[in-house]
């Protein structure tokens, strides 16, 4: 499988990274080079093999259903590029 210019633009859009035509054009051979290389994995016989989920056996834990955190609104907003009246502010979404 290889990617073309249109696919690269589509991936960039999915990844929410704006690219110029020139950027996208330059990425086509770069990505194909990497994808062509990783495709050698297709030759490995994986019949009956489960995909890895946890690399070191570990048990999922439950904790008590109690509030252990919170009431830190100002800390949460402290690094926001734009915060107003206790909220994150973004460009208008609905006309």
């Amino acid at each position: 499988m290889s990617v073309d210019l249109q696919t690269v633009k589509k991936i960039a859009s999915l990844a929410r990274i704006s690219v110029t035509d020139g950027d996208a054009q330059a990425m086509v051979p770069e990505l194909n080079n990497i994808l062509g290389w990783v495709e050698q994995l297709g030759e490995v016989d994986v019949s009956g093999i489960e995909p890895m989920t946890a690399v070191i056996p570990n048990t999922s834990r439950l904790r008590d259903d109690v509030v252990t955190d919170g009431n830190v609104r100002d800390k949460v907003l402290a690094n926001a590029p734009q915060a107003e009246q206790g909220f994150f502010a973004v460009p208008k979404v609905i006309e």
Binding site: A15, I56, A78, N79, P91
Partner: protein
């Protein structure tokens, strides 16, 4: 004249300070001065001399009152991937420039609670993606080492923990934190002639560490000696309920358990690591390592890890896939950079912010990750890679039936010059050929200096151990350290 305190190891600083040979303040002042005088290395993104002095003064008071902690008097460097409360944390990216966490990562918090002081935040490859420290938004870290050919080529300190490696090697700090996703502690340690250990996945909490690939990311120490690594790792490890993959196990007394007597240990030599085109010097170093371990009492056995050749392509699907998901959080809304073109809507703002804030290698990996996770390709790439990852982990399990540890070179070459491999991402990725398999299997692995190559540059040997056997790894590394007698250090030019 008093000994230069900045030449001391962590253990020597700790013990000398306790014995009253010098004050913690003298130590901190010495390292602060070295940091201030080493701008040419670009090892630090932020310097925090006052933090180092504050911790030193607290240590001096604690000594007076008999209230010492394990790392009292020891200043360290902190890789700028660990969130530090009140101190800018960037992951060497533009998108996080100016981000000042309101919380402390678990690992850094444990180190401060153990009495350590912070000299500053260390440069790295952007979001820990790189093997040469050339992807940092804040500029390349320059290795303190030079080739002995009379040339003056600036060399890569390795990556991604390149700032940590350069700073320790240049005596700007006695030890530092690193993180290792596919070799980011071990390869830079090898490039600058120091030691570093990536513990078993889950030993060190990932909470508060800027995420790259969550199923692979592990923090670990870097320092000049094996003992120092044991000391630091004890302080950094331990169960953390805030990290769902943290192991709920007691932290062994690794320093007290150090022993270079390897009688009864079997060390495997994986035949698949004899890769084509490997420099003869790397092969010779490996043979030296084998001789050292034999001399320490170990039995050497040949083992096979048949899926080794697939480790790198597996890694370069899984790590970008996880990265594309983890880095979705950088959206210009909650923290970091916002790029809002005139009249732009929310979606345009996301795309413009991410285009302006991420460097080329980060974008490349997000793109690859997005592609392999996209509808129609998920099974062919991602599921296949996770299956091969199972096979790679199984290879190690089978090897452990005939041996206790593995010995390999850390990297396929000595440090390369800055710029030398930048044009070809694949050539750069191949640097991690020996370190990635242990990462995929979550195993503890350590690099220890083995010697110098003909150009006078350090070469590292890697010990890989069974899950949770950091002690075995440290002990074999100690056996190599004692026999290699590595004392070389870079001549000061900076």
């Amino acid at each position: 004249m008093m000994t230069d305190l900045t030449n001391l190891t962590v253990a020597e600083i700790r013990d000398g300070f306790r014995a009253g040979d010098f004050t913690a303040r003298e130590v901190a002042e010495g390292f602060n001065a070295n940091v201030a005088a080493a701008k040419a290395l670009n090892a630090f993104i932020v310097e925090t001399p006052d933090k180092a002095l504050d911790a030193a003064d607290a240590a001096d008071s604690a000594r007076a009152s008999g209230d010492l902690k394990p790392l009292s008097g020891v200043p360290i460097g902190m890789k700028d991937l660990f969130c530090t409360e009140g101190v800018q944390t960037t992951a060497a990216s533009h998108i996080l420039e100016g981000f000042v966490p309101t919380y402390e990562s678990t690992v850094s918090g444990k180190l401060w609670a153990a009495g350590a002081g912070m000299l500053g935040k260390l440069n790295l490859d952007q979001f820990a993606m790189g093997s040469s420290n050339e992807t940092s938004y804040f500029g390349n870290v320059i290795s303190p080492w030079k080739r002995n050919d009379g040339g003056n080529a600036a060399l890569a300190p390795g990556g991604s923990s390149g700032g940590s490696a350069a700073a320790i090697s240049a005596r700007l700090c006695p030890a530092a934190t690193g993180t290792d996703t596919g070799g980011s502690i071990r390869q830079p340690a090898a490039f600058v002639g120091i030691s570093g250990i990536k513990p078993t996945y889950g030993r060190c909490s990932r909470w508060g560490v800027v995420a790259f690939a969550s199923s692979l990311d592990q923090a670990g120490p870097m320092a000049r000696t094996v003992r120092d690594n044991a000391i630091l790792l004890e302080a950094m490890s331990g169960f953390d309920p805030k990290d769902s993959t943290s192991l709920d196990l007691p932290v062994p007394a690794w320093e007290a358990g150090l022993s270079s007597d390897l009688k009864g240990k079997r060390v495997g030599i994986p035949q698949e690591y004899r890769v084509e085109g490997m420099p003869a010097e790397i092969d010779a170093l490996w043979e030296k390592g084998i001789a050292y371990l034999k001399d320490a009492g170990a039995e050497i056995v040949e083992v096979s890890l048949p899926h080794t050749q697939y480790a790198l392509p597996t890694y370069y699907i899984i790590a970008p896939a996880e990265a594309s998901s983890n880095l979705a959080r950088y959206d210009g809304v909650r923290f970091g950079l916002r790029d809002l073109p005139d009249g732009a809507g929310l979606q345009d703002m996301y795309a413009a912010t991410r285009a302006a804030g991420f460097g080329p290698e980060v974008k490349r990996r997000i793109m690859i990750g997005t592609y392999v996770l996209s509808a129609g390709f998920y099974d062919a790439y991602y599921t296949q890679a996770q299956k091969v990852r199972t096979l790679i982990a199984r290879d190690f399990d089978r090897a452990w039936e005939s041996c206790d540890l593995l010995l390999t070179p850390t990297a396929p070459s000595a440090a390369f010059a800055l710029g030398e491999k930048q044009a070809d991402p694949l050539a750069m990725y191949l640097n991690d050929v020996f370190t990635v398999p242990a990462s995929l299997a979550g195993l503890p692995a350590m690099s220890v200096p083995g010697g110098l190559d003909a150009q006078g540059l350090p070469l590292g040997l890697q010990i890989i151990g069974k899950a949770l056997d950091e002690q075995g790894v440290l002990n074999a590394a100690l056996a190599i350290e004692e026999r290699a007698g590595f004392t070389a250090r870079p001549d000061k030019w900076w």
